[in-house]
Amino acid sequence: QQPVQSPQAVILREGEDAVINCSSSKALYSVHWYRQKHGEAPVFLMILLKGGEQKGHEKISASFNEKKQQSSLYLTASQLSYSGTYFCGTEYDSGYSTLTFGKGTMLLVSP
């Protein structure tokens, strides 16, 4: 079952903030966030497990709201290098399961 991401695209100026959301209609066990640059493989950012934790990675952090079955990725003081497509991947089982990706959010940071 595919997670739903929003928005589809975001255009920012350098230094601005953005939030990308990922939601599921089914109870989640984990949410993975990846960033993909054009023509390259997805690059891992972070994993959040159920329990409502928040994680940080440089100026990129994420939260997981178990009640809403939603994760949000926060990009603060965006840099040009943050441009790319952000995918969330979700899993519904703590055991051996399959990571299913959303359609992605395209982020463009301009000078």
Binding site: Q2, Y29, S30, H32, Q36, E40, A41, P42, V43, F44, I47, L49, F87, G89, E91, D93, S94, G95, Y96, S97, T98, L99, T100, F101, G102, K103, G104
Partner: protein
């Protein structure tokens, strides 16, 4: 950091031909995956593989597709009779034990073009 390697980086083939995409997962990883991404679209799951057999497959992974681990290091995806709509970037991925709290390591992909 260890890497998943994929060959070739680009493959051009004629419709109806067979292609084999090759991957070398990270050596201590036990779970292997193939995903594909049609240009501009999302990364779609094809198949997962564990202990020399398919663990899970998607609707996309029909009889035209097969996977194999022919030796201790390679993991291959075969498309028997390619169609135009098989044109996509194919990513191999692996993780240690296939558990939901583990990071997925992606290879750099094989761009398949079916003419």
């Amino acid at each position: 950091e260890p890497e998943v390697t994929q060959t070739p980086s680009h493959q051009v083939t004629q419709m109806g031909q067979e292609v084999i995409l090759r991957c070398v997962p990270i050596s201590n990883h036990l779970y292997f995956y193939w995903y594909r991404q049609i240009l501009g679209q999302k990364v779609e799951f094809l198949v997962s593989f564990y202990n020399n057999e398919i663990s899970e497959k998607s609707e996309i992974f029909d009889d035209q597709f097969s996977v194999e681990r022919p030796d201790g290091s390679n993991f291959t995806l075969k498309i028997r009779s390619t169609k135009l709509e098989d044109s996509a970037m194919y990513f191999c991925a692996s993780r240690v034990q296939g558990r939901a709290n583990e990071k997925l390591f992606f290879g750099s992909g094989t761009q398949l073009s079916v003419l």
